[in-house]
């Protein structure tokens, strides 16, 4: 393990980062370096990582891509945009802002969307106040690694009382160069009583491996309504580690849609602190594994105060030799009375060699609460297959339809139709070789 840590610490020392010289920022990055040195990368003996062996990630050495490369890769990227999606789009190539591919012309004045490199250098509103503040104490060495390198990513600040009509879409595209370490660092601050849908997309097409290690912090101020859709659709040899650390203030509602489709090994750490009364979160997740993919979703909901609500719904479909992990931790802190916490994790295994480890964990330190959880792992419902066949639908189609429906149950919770269609398209291609449900019948 030490060798990987040494490698990244050395790589860190070799580059200069934007905004350095500011005491708070230097200290923040420095805390990342020291935490990485102290804790190292997680091992299987770490309870939160016990089902995910990251040694394949540490065996290779990944290096930050120089920013000069950002002008290449435009052609590769062209086919990857979602044509039907009307969004304010900001694009990063190999971790660096690509202005030419971004389209931010029609942004309302009350919203700031700019590269983190600029935001930290210029000390934008809330950056110093919030950067690093949503990250839990026990976050992993990967999060520390990201903090050590804070360089670029999306800084989004939305003023109060603004309803942003079209989604803000940030795309992190990793070129086929191979071997890159891409570490987006995002900060989203959503003002009081404002509404926005943020889409965070990770895409790569290359056959060579690269490591994406992202960290996003999201703050929903009082009464804000934020939908956050995370689409991880990186290439089959990519390694993806992503953190999404959120804080929901009074009467805000955070809707997280966490979609994991790509990468060889993919791990997301999603935490949300329901920090003031009336805060509410809906956590939707869908993961699809095929081949030898390994997809790990760690989630943690912190009910810190009374009268908060969380509703978590994660579904996975695994085929071939794919493996998935779901760890759903819900903590109801002392005094957090009238908490309403629901959690469901359902898994569909389409092959005998697919595997899922699901671990719901409720820790309740208050006595007047409504909490429930459920986890299922199963095959397709034979009675449903029979039912469809008695309506004339052939067996293969019936099975595909039921699998589709199983996943669509969560996918349909994403508000944006073009995003839903896109996710269903990937599901269709991955499992049945068709892009639309209509083609099945």
């Amino acid at each position: 393990m030490t060798t990987a840590v040494d490698h990244y610490v050395t790589a860190r020392e070799a580059i200069s980062l934007p905004g350095s010289g500011q005491g708070w920022l230097d200290a923040l990055r420095g805390s990342g370096v020291s935490k990485l040195r102290e804790d190292g990368f997680p091992t299987l003996s770490n309870e939160n990582w016990r089902y995910t062996n990251i040694r394949p990630i540490l065996r290779q050495t990944f290096n930050p891509a120089p920013s000069a490369r950002k002008e290449s890769g435009h052609e590769e990227f062209a086919g990857l945009i979602l044509p039907e999606l009307h969004s304010h789009r900001i694009v990063f190539i190999d971790g660096h802002y690509a202005r030419a591919l971004s389209s931010l012309d029609h942004l309302p004045a009350a919203i700031t969307v700019e590269p983190m490199a600029t935001a930290v250098a210029c000390g934008r509103n809330g950056v110093k106040e919030w950067l690093g503040k949503c990250i839990p104490e026990d976050s992993s060495g990967f999060t520390a690694l990201n903090t050590a390198f804070i360089e670029d990513g999306l800084y989004l600040h939305l003023a109060s009382d603004i309803h942003v009509q079209h989604p803000v879409e940030v795309v992190f595209f990793t070129t086929k160069t191979g071997g890159q370490l891409v570490q987006p660092r995002n900060l989203f601050i959503i003002g009081e009583n404002s509404r926005v849908h943020i889409i965070e997309r990770y895409v790569s097409t290359g056959v060579d491996s690269h490591l994406t290690n992202s960290v996003t912090e999201l703050v929903a101020e009082n009464s804000a309504v934020v939908e956050h859709t995370r689409l991880q659709e990186e290439g089959g040899r990519a390694f993806h580690v992503g953190g999404l650390f959120m804080r929901a203030k009074g009467n805000s509602h955070v809707i997280s849609n966490n979609v994991a489709l790509g990468s060889m090994i993919a791990r997301t750490d999603l935490t949300i602190a329901l920090a003031d009364e009336g805060a509410c979160c809906t956590l939707n997740g869908v993961y699809l594994g095929s081949g030898r993919q390994h997809i790990d979703n760690f989630t943690q909901v912190d009910h810190q105060v009374p009268h908060c609500k969380s509703d978590e719904f994660y579904k996975g479909v695994l085929t071939d030799r794919a493996r998935a992990v779901f760890y759903g931790r819900v903590i109801v802190h002392e005094g957090a009375q009238h908490t309403d916490a629901q959690q469901q994790n359902r898994n569909l295994l389409l092959s005998a060699d697919a595997e899922v480890d699901t671990k719901p964990q409720l820790e309740i330190y208050a006595d007047d609460v409504k909490c429930s959880h459920g986890a299922t792992v199963g095959q397709l419902d034979e009675s449903a297959t029979y039912y469809l066949r008695t309506r004339g639908i052939d067996e293969t189609t019936a099975r595909s339809l039921l699998t589709w429906a199983f996943a669509a149950d969560v996918i349909n919770r994403i508000s944006s139709t073009p995003v839903r269609n896109h996710v269903e398209g990937i599901l269709g291609k991955k499992l049945f070789g068709v892009e639309r449900l209509e083609e099945l019948v």
Partner: protein, 255 residues
């Protein structure tokens, strides 16, 4: 239309049907009655093609062809429809999608192109009225969160849209209040015609007040022990099933 000859069926190695003989002609409505565990649902499901229902003896001819050679979906495409006793909930598949898939599966089997969308919607709306189903139900997931009555009405809606040649209703009256039963019965009666036959499996005579059968058969311990007309159902209602066990095995009836 349907000719069942000496049908023996086992489920997980246990013999359930022990020599069923039944002749059904186009235009007829046959009621199958009998106590719990007599094999009524097994008969319905073996005709529809449920897997793991093993036919150990006998044959079933449908339109003169060997029905038991066909897959479940082929039977459906050939015009056999089963209204389930316990309709299955399918989250994520909308009612309207299922109906469209069912209609087009059958058209494809017949070598026809998909039904044009406008025509399909007109058909669905018209049929939904027959079973008094609100349009919003069409867009909900199949049977998900439906009440018992809504599920059964949904079965009848599917039947009305698919327009089968032989419709088998498996205890469609179970769990229905009188109003829902009337709606279901009206739906069935509106589909009665000289080309179509019905098998109505029921435990109680009640449903047969509304769907008046041409023939009534009493099933006990895997055999038809008595056949008659609608008066037999009334007799069963009065006497219960207790006397049935004493009856000798009846000959098959039907014209």
């Amino acid at each position: 239309m349907l000719s069942i000859k000496n049908l023996h069926t086992s489920v997980v190695g246990k013999p359930i049907l022990k020599g069923i003989n039944l002749e059904i002609n186009a235009g007829e409505v046959h009621a199958i009655m009998g106590p719990n565990g007599s094999g009524k649902s097994t008969l319905a499901n073996v005709l529809a093609g449920r897997e793991n229902y093993e036919v150990t003896q006998g044959e079933v001819l449908y339109m003169g062809l060997n029905l038991l050679d066909w897959s479940t979906e082929q039977r459906a495409c050939e015009g056999i429809f089963l209204a389930f006793q316990y309709p299955v909930e399918i989250p994520g598949v909308s009612n309207i999608y299922l109906l469209k898939a069912a209609v087009n599966a059958r058209r494809k089997y017949q070598g026809l192109p998909d039904m044009p969308a406008v025509e399909f919607l007109r058909l669905i709306r018209e049929k939904a009225k027959v079973v008094e189903m609100k349009e919003e139900f069409l867009h909900r997931s199949v049977n998900e969160g439906f009440s018992g009555g809504e599920k059964k009405r949904n079965e009848i809606l599917q039947m009305a849209v698919i327009e089968p040649t032989l419709a088998i209703l498996d205890e469609t009256d179970s769990g229905l209040d009188i109003d829902a039963m009337k709606i279901v019965a009206d739906g069935v009666n509106s589909l009665r015609n000289p080309e179509r036959a019905f098998i109505v499996v029921t435990h109680y005579q009640r449903l047969l007040d509304y769907i008046v059968p041409d023939f009534v058969h009493v099933l006990a311990e895997g055999r038809i022990v008595k056949s008659g007309d609608k008066l037999l159902a009334l007799e069963l209602e009065r006497e219960g099933y207790g006397w049935i066990e004493k009856e000798p095995v009846a000959k098959s009836v039907g014209a």
